[in-house]
Symmetry: none
Subunit: 196 residues, 4 copies
DNA sequence: TATGAATGAGTTTTCATTCAT
DNA sequence: TATGAATGAAAACTCATTCAT
């Protein structure tokens, strides 16, 4: 008893949209295709989402919230900068692999969002980046990270790996998500550690 | 003779398409907008390009050819693996900065190409990656590069930086293209060099 | 007892519909907007009105009944034709100004009613016109009103003023409703009075 | 030879739109119905008109221009105020009868125009009214028209008749357009003439 | 080579109304 | 009485592409 018999309309639609947006692209997916894949009617969909754009933003919203909360959690635990940074990097990579379709959509379709929402996404990503940068700065202050490379370059050097995952990583491939997360984090940390 | 009096239609269209695709996105750009921006008529455009897709592919074609020829040229010069790899990396970064709009389109719009052309692009990028991997392998064989990380990860770790450029680099920003190219290449090489 | 605790649903809906229909137009007003403005739910509204059309007709019904009853009342009082006609004209003008939003809807949206109801409205307006015409005829018979102009023209000449009110009269403007009612009635009576 | 074989798309569409808007109303007429009645495709229609609203405005534009040019022409001829006013009134009435469908749409559907265009229509109608008022003022100055009634009321008293035509006049009815124009103009002039 | 009117299938969105609860 | 999720038909509009000239 208590089992949810009725699949929630909003959930089914979101799921179908994610699947289609990530495989065919936002512009190549029609609302018709989404509702068919979700097994609901167009009217029902528009009862929960005000537009196709709204559906896209829901995916962004979810990713942004998730990333933010995980970053908060890890930084809250405290510890030496390098240790925290390592934990953050591994976690971001792992999470990004778990949410690979979301990532595909995330990086590919920002420009399809309404202008206001693009700004909102940019704002929240900047917030996230600043928080990330603060950890690196702490490491620089304590002498473990190099400071002869602009912060922007360092940040980009790491997030490019996150970004790129959906372009090459295949879950069915030889590397597990944990291995890849560790390996990439190692490469990154090695490159920014102050040489002794 | 030889004086180019008439602006070439195909060139003007390609230029306008690149500009619009990179700023507004392929799907958000209509053929009408392209021909208006190019100052030609629709009929004229369709005389030179068979479809909107064709226009998009022209941008890919140009990028792929350019990258290939530069890689060929540098590898042809020969030299120690690390030296060659450094030259290749710096060159790719610099070229990618010079062709930033092309890069924006390149990474954002592959899924908008016809299936056949997507395969063609994939094939040529794989070719390029293999050539790049060969240099890394040579360095591994000669003991200068580490071999405890899968090649796929190493490759991705570098190309992610190339890819990510259009997401963060601004020509009007503080860093010159040469600086960034050097810095990123340093970070990359430091991370893959065998520790002594 | 007697305290009206609950705002009547039907009244609130009618009030909101009138407001919206008169400002935005019937076609530009959605049922959703009406129920929101009325502070009720869609289900509640459909409990009292069978359709949006029904809501529109309620406005007509109210106006037609009101006009009819006032005309009946005035004619019942009797008196010389010119005196009666003057009273009727002044009253119609004043009432129309008091119910300006209703008038806006009344004259603008007949064609949005169902065919049956359009006929019903036409029927009752004809009835009203005939009663009005009877007064004029009485005045013609007694020699105070001219009879060299077709009755249809005379009638139209007056009702056009009533009709037009919502197009130019502004309650916040310089003229009071009584002044305008008197002035227009004077103009009308002067034009139909038999010259001596 | 020389006969226009090809019915112009824009003309056919305008004609069909006028017919449908005047009989069924703007909101009750779909673009589909218009293009079917005009015998053209939707795409062709949108080649000439940017929106359904555009189609509606075309009708307004035509009416406003026509009225303006006729008023200009008559006032340009000059003469005593009463004579000019009579000519203007008769002409407006006659023209309005000739363009009865346009009038129906004109007075019924202003609120369906985009806000900008509503303002444009208001502006041009005010211009027209001012020009009309100037004639009345001249007559007041020369002592032939009464000045004990606000100008706004006088103006409204006449234009209400113009407005109302489409609500009662039927070309197939007993009165010819010339008769009605004369009769209504007489009624109006009688009511505003200064009593002696 | 080049024009630009025309096509027609497709798009997103709206909305009055119904109905299980 | 009242809810509000869901329906389904229709709406306006877009746009890559074609083709007679």
């Amino acid at each position: 008893m208590g089992a949810m018999r009725t699949k929630n309309v909003a959930d089914e639609v979101t799921r179908a949209a994610l699947e289609l947006f990530s495989t065919r692209g936002y512009a190549n997916t029609s609302v018709q295709q989404i509702v068919e894949a979700a097994g609901v009617t167009k009217g029902a969909m528009y009862h929960y989402f005000t537009s196709k754009d709204d559906l896209l933003f829901a995916i962004y919203e979810r990713m942004l919230s998730l990333q933010k909360s995980r970053l908060d959690e890890i930084t809250a635990r405290g510890g030496p900068a390098e240790e925290v940074l390592r934990a953050v990097c591994v976690d971001v990579m792992e999470t990004s692999i778990e949410f690979l379709p979301e990532g595909t959509v995330f990086f590919r379709s920002v420009h399809m969002l309404s202008e206001d929402r693009q700004k909102e996404v940019t704002r929240r990503r900047r917030e996230y980046n600043d928080q990330f940068a603060a950890i690196v700065e702490r490491g620089q202050a304590s002498g473990v990270f190099r400071d002869d490379v602009p912060m922007a370059v360092l940040i980009a050097h790491f997030f490019s790996d996150v970004h790129y995952l959906s372009h090459w990583y295949r879950p069915e491939g030889p590397e597990t998500k944990t291995e890849v997360a560790q390996q990439v984090t190692d490469l990154f940390l090695r490159s920014i550690r102050k040489e002794t």
